[in-house]
Symmetry: C2
């Protein structure tokens, strides 16, 4: 381990006092669950594996119920027990929902999740995804003894790279995935050396028990479930952002690769300057956040972005880039167009002329109503006719956007109200970080290269 790495590790490894504090809290919660008689308590997550980063205040405590309990009963009893315990420890009660409901609470500065699950015999008998978590915890705990330092370094490194987290917004590396990578490659250094030369279709199967094929760019078979890819939510982009980050660190190691980058915002003036320089046409669609959880909404925002992009392209407005963002109260879809207005004439290809009935219908429809045509090109009728949408604003304000395939909740919110903005008028203080990241978009290694070269 280099001095850079040991220096970093010193900062991020929890001290004895911190460790004692969190384990006192965790043990008390587990005892309370055990004493209830309804379920067994178990600490899971990075605290249980001793792989949490100093300062983290997340504590996951699972309530393991007997598999004979009916699903509804598990949900009801789990929530009741969670609420009861939270109250007894003086915490608040927030009901959250993953595959089934759980209690989130805040006690003595800790962010605690109290999650009911089934205490199944083996991972092959799980009834929902959360039942798998205790198996992950046991698997890692049994093998992690000499590797916790390497895991901590990797997590910090991935955070600095912006690829830590398997939620839909990040599409990066889950904590469990980081742990498995270290187990597999033997050390932090081993992970970096291997990840630096990853290609799409890389497969890691520690237990050598894979039962099927996957088409994701990185496949890491779950040691406790041969049919599951732990890296299934990792996007190709994040996989390779990480890969080049590893590569560049190995070439010229620096503490910068372990520092969490605070994303700056862009000022209104900077933003307007950039827009003018680019000369493209930027449009945003803004609406109230739909009522749902981020892990459902973010994929919907992305889907809506794609479908509106298709609508724009279908109408000849070329989209150079697009992006979306879910802010604190409102969401935004952003499109950067090469074209915002188009000539009145549009070319349309008809059916092959040898398809007589369709060809004659097409001919009849357009006869006398064209700029040019109908003429024949190859085997088809072509007409040059009046274009429907002469500019992007008209299109984006038309009801046609609701037929384009928006995400369900996005559509509901937009049907209620949405606004379309153009160039300078899209500025919004609340989106300044999003705008910064859009305009100054660069891969994480580039950020560090630029910094070290003083550019």
């Amino acid at each position: 381990m280099s001095s850079i790495e040991s220096g970093c590790l010193e900062k991020i490894r929890p001290g004895d006092e911190e460790r004692r504090l969190i384990w006192d809290m965790a043990s008390a919660l587990v005892r309370e669950i055990d004493d209830s008689g309804f379920a067994k308590g178990m600490v899971v997550g990075s605290v249980a594996r001793d792989t949490w980063i100093s300062g983290d205040r997340d504590l996951d405590v699972f309530m393991l119920f007997d598999p004979s309990v009916a699903r509804e009963d598990l949900e009801q009893m789990g929530m009741a027990l969670g609420r009861d315990i939270a109250t007894r420890f003086g915490g608040d009660i927030i009901e959250k929902y993953a595959e089934h409901p759980y209690v989130n609470t805040h006690i003595n500065g800790f962010d605690v999740d109290l999650v009911p699950c089934y205490d199944v015999e083996s991972a092959s008998k799980i009834q929902s995804a959360v039942d798998r978590t205790p198996f992950h915890t046991r698997y890692i705990r049994e093998r992690v003894d000499n590797l916790t330092g390497d895991i901590l370094l990797l997590k910090q490194f991935a955070k600095s790279c912006g690829v830590y987290g398997s939620d839909h917004m990040t599409e990066g590396f889950a904590g469990y995935l980081c742990e498995l990578l270290v187990l597999n490659y033997g050390s932090f250094e081993g992970v970096l050396q291997n990840a630096a030369v990853w290609t799409p279709g890389t497969i890691i199967d520690i237990e050598d028990h894979r039962t099927k094929d996957f088409d994701e760019p990185l496949v890491v078979i779950d040691p406790v479930d041969p049919g599951r890819n732990v890296a299934s939510s990792l996007s190709s982009t994040k996989m390779f952002e990480f890969s080049v980050f590893c590569r560049d660190y190995l070439t010229s190691p620096s503490g910068d690769y372990f520092i969490i980058h605070k994303q700056p915002g862009l000022s209104r003036e900077e933003f307007n300057d950039e827009i003018r320089k680019r000369g493209t046409s930027l449009y945003t669609i803004v609406f109230e956040n739909p009522y749902s959880i981020p892990d459902i909404l973010v994929p919907q925002l992305r889907r809506s972005l794609r479908s509106l992009e298709n609508l724009l392209e279908k109408n000849d407005f070329r989209v150079m880039r697009s992006d979306c963002y879910m802010g604190s109260g409102r969401s935004v879809l952003l499109f950067e167009l090469l074209d915002e207005s188009l000539p009145p004439v549009v070319r349309r290809a008809g059916p092959p002329v040898w398809n007589r009935s369709n060809a004659e219908k097409f001919l009849k429809k357009h006869l006398g109503l064209t700029y040019s045509g109908p003429y024949i090109e190859g085997e088809r009728y072509i007409v040059e006719i009046e274009r429907k949408y002469l500019n992007a604003m008209t299109l984006l304000k038309s009801p046609e956007i609701f037929l384009s395939g928006l995400g369900k909740n996005v559509k509901i919110s937009m049907e209620d109200h949405y606004s379309v903005h153009r160039n300078e008028e899209i500025w919004d203080e609340n989106f300044s970080v999003f705008f910064y990241n859009y305009i100054r978009k660069e891969s994480p290694n580039v950020r560090i290269l630029q910094k070290s070269s003083g550019k």
Copy 2:
């Protein structure tokens, strides 16, 4: 035969006097060749087949040499004999060139070609394409007796449709192809009924002796050569223009389908009005006709059009339509663009990042010189950088056009000089018919439908 058709036939079938005149001339030329002792004379073409249209003044007389004569000798003796005969009949001498040289002359108002060829035993032994012609003449002459009226009608019909002629400009139906279609389908009516339902890949093989596959839309196997498609130079567009022309005539027959359409021109005012209405950007490139024959130049013009279209599209200028024209002294390439100016920023995809050496070269090249990026999308680096050509005029005036794959002679002429014109400034009286056909482009059946509906 309908009254429309018999009425038409009366006008286009040569009378006894016209027939006597042309045959007197033809026989005298043949006798002269025979008497020379060097070659045998033979009338070929539509006169020989009795399928020429009244008023046509084209007479093809072949000079058949023994196959033992060397190629150079054939060319020399052929030209000498041709010149000698032309002079003796008081005609001028124009040297022309197909696969080898021949003499073109004008005698008593006839346009006479005197063409040397080899008198081979069978079509399988031909040494150049012209040697095949006597076999075509014999094949048709032996089978045409009761069908000359149908053939004349078909030729006139195809002329009216604008699809008669197998030269590169027309890409239509050769006279021999018309004759074979009538032979195959039995009558004018038969051709129309069948052509009306043609689909791409239609095959006609009268002698049922095809020896290979063809991928042209219409395949008519040469009865005297099983490895040749008589319709190889017919474009898909012309094939289907003819098909719908047949269809519409059968639905509502009219004399209009036999009248040769005189192409009008467009006035400067009409042209400028149309340009303004369309709102597109029209550009022309004009240069002196390169020194060569049309059958070589026209394909070169088309190739140049395609390559410049690719150059424009590659630089993000979308071409809605394009066309080219070889005028009497100058040629023109015309492009109708959806875009004539573009934003300063352009997006470029780099290599996959896992291709380390290329990826790092790309990164190094662009670092600090981008609007955005390098960032990673999927597995590739992307940059948004300075666009090279902000408007179409700059591109079309740049030396880059000479690297785009222009036709050889076109390139030579353009390297000497060319001019680029835009919108109203492209007007040129000499191209008014070309402009008319471009703007009012419609298939031949549409022209007649519009006329009959009074639109």
